[in-house]
Amino acid sequence: MKKVCAMAGTIFNPEKPKQSIKELKEAGIQGILFDFGLIVSPAGILADRVSEESKWKPNQTRKYYKAVISQFQEHALLPSIVRLPFVDVNLNLNEKTGYSYVDLNRLVTQIDADCVKACEEMDCHDIIVQPLSAGLKQEELWEANKVFYLNLAAVCSNEDTKILLTNQCRSHNGHLLRGVCSDGETAAEWVDALNRACGMQRFGFCLDVGNCNICGQNMQRMASELNSRIQAVILTENDGQNMARQLPFTNAYGRRSTMDWLSVIRGLRDILFDGYLILETVDTTVAFSPLLQPYLMPVYKEMLDYFDLQINIEKDLKKFDRVALFGAGNMCRNYMKCYGRKYPPLFTCDNNPKLWDTEFEGLMVKNPEELKNLPEGSGVIICNIFYREIRAQLEQMGIVNIGYFNDEYMPSFYTDRLKRNTDDAEDADYNEG
């Protein structure tokens, strides 16, 4: 898993990124998503041209982002992945605007081609490119985008360069609805058709869970439809209405996030996702005082690690020949329901002596001291929310093969009654993951 923070989410001054890079590195974040949208805006260029101001000109922007990239090179933090400038889905051109959607899409094509060359020059090979949609009718989308993306593919000179399509919303009089590439099956067909046309795997997909959330989409299904085409995931949160970029779990109501993270995590687990995890949090970051913003960086690092843990919940289980559990409560129970058959533990243990030599969920509960006698290649999986304390206890005992289990996002959730109601063998497997 490649874990990166979006540039805009970590308050880069693109021209003077030194301080941000230092803070990121101190927090242990080693990768960033470089966002050309902070430097160049096709709609901005056209608007300025109309108003006869000279701030934005295509020939100047290249000079500008070259200067920015050299700053990053100087501070030894080259972008891992890049996003090209996006057009605001709420953009609504009219006769007063002074330019047309045709002008806009032509300029987007020109700028994106230029940016792709710049990416290759800085040795960055994964590029997120927004599909064209401004001013296009539903029936025109595929043909227009086919030409657009194949034009970009023709610009690529490095065979490792990947162009990632991404799912969009569309605005219907201010209400954000499912837009281009928001249907997983159609998006998968687009990626495949583009790759066929290129004769190579030039195209992939970046799943933006923020956009999915605005449209209340089932992200587990979306992930399964796109499957291995998903090479990057943008982790962000919003209120389901507005296109905010918040830190995951911060749009909370009734003591819980209002975002369907369960479906995100189940989906990414199902497809064994191992691409870029991009944390995008610009609205949360900017909402904090600049005095407090540096303290967010370690949280971002932990957030990325947390999602890595959740998506790869089986990674620790696969790592060891055999496992023993630590904990004989609900988490242990959930382990046995969802993973007990696939990764059967030798036994579990608990610090409560009253539980020793009893049976729980088909496992013997033992004194933790028994863990010292585990066969070689075995690991201890902590099945208890007191992770840090138990880890310290195990390390004190000289145990080094330690893994974590967490039951917040299970492949299924156990209901006694559901099981009791079922009456055939097939039904008995419902909660077995």
Binding site: R178, E185, N213, Q220, G240, F413, N421
Partner: protein, 310 residues
């Protein structure tokens, strides 16, 4: 030919059903969506140890609904569709409750539907993806339920219609059963092939679709002939308000935030020729008593507008 209907909840009263049906006729409707779900009130579908609505025999239920049937006939209102009480399965409820819902409420609802001579009954799919782990496993359970009723449906000439539903995550509405139109189509076709009859169809709910950003036009186009009934209503994109179409806006231009043009185009493209049925019961209680008939008439007029546009 397109007709215009509305749900009966909050209009038809037990003490004088004919009066309510006459109100519908006067407002401009020719059809209704009989709110069978209003009898065992939502959330009060079953009380352990008490006599519940569907504990009555089919004959008793028919006797109960006879004045409604006669009232509709006398007023010239066709019962085009009805809504089976929901939920039809509650994963955390006692076995007795689910047994009652599955083996009493559901088949007796089918009997009542047939008694009214109604062709379509809307059935909510089970909401089990959270527990079971995927939408596919959820559908397996819904399918078991539908299969248990399919022989009755075939014999009675009734089409059960699954509906696009939603779930709530901390108050944020996300898609639920029936929101993947391609899968819905595949499942409907598979079941109808199995029974050599149209035992399963689809009910497109505009309000639920709007809440989860579904593109009306493409959804309806994929459904095609499987679209049998409609639940037409509007909302603000946040809550399931069941309000009058064209009510909500988001910008200073004050254009509708719900894609009614896409809705009309979709129905026109598939040559929809059934009933434009509104599910707008909350409108009736929201308006003052003195304006309710006018509110109903406005809904019927909007139906007329859609009809002309389609």
């Amino acid at each position: 030919m397109l007709e215009i209907g509305v749900q009966t909840k909050n209009v038809i009263e037990d003490k004088d059903p004919l009066k309510g049906f006459e109100k519908l006729k006067k407002a401009g409707f020719t059809c209704c969506d009989f709110s069978l779900n209003a009898y065992p009130l939502n959330g009060k579908t079953y009380v352990l140890g008490e006599k519940n609505f569907f504990d009555q025999t089919v004959s008793e239920l028919e006797a109960f609904f006879k004045p409604y049937k006669e009232g509709a006939e006398r007023a010239g209102i066709t019962v085009n569709q009805m809504h089976m009480p929901y939920p039809v399965y509650m994963p955390q409820a006692a076995h007795e409750i689910n047994d009652y819902l599955w083996n009493q409420a559901a088949p007796k609802s089918m009997e009542i539907c047939a008694f009214f001579g109604c062709r379509y009954i809307v059935v909510h799919g089970f909401k089990l993806a959270y527990y079971l782990g995927s939408e596919e496993q959820e559908w397996e359970q819904t399918e078991r339920f539908l299969v248990s009723l399919a022989p009755m449906a075939k014999e009675m000439g009734i089409t059960m219609c699954i509906e696009n539903l939603y779930e709530s995550i901390g108050g944020h509405i996300v898609e639920g059963p029936g929101c993947d139109v391609r899968r819905a189509v595949e499942r409907i076709d598979r079941m109808n092939d199995r029974y050599h009859a149209e035992v399963l169809g689809f009910c497109f709910d505009t309000g639920h679709a709007n809440l989860v950003g579904i593109d009306f036009e493409s959804f309806i186009m994929v459904l095609g002939h499987r679209l049998k009934v409609l639940h037409i209503h509007d909302n603000d994109g946040r809550s399931d308000l069941h309000q009058i179409p064209f009510t909500f806006t988001r910008t200073r231009e004050n254009k509708p935030s719900t894609d009614w043009e896409g809705f009309v185009r979709g129905l026109r493209n598939i040559r929809f020729d059934k009933v434009l049925s509104f599910e707008t019961a909350p409108v009736i209680t929201a308006f003052p008593e003195a304006l309710r008939e006018e509110a109903l008439a406005l809904i019927a007029k909007i139906g007329g507008y859609f009809k002309d546009e389609i």
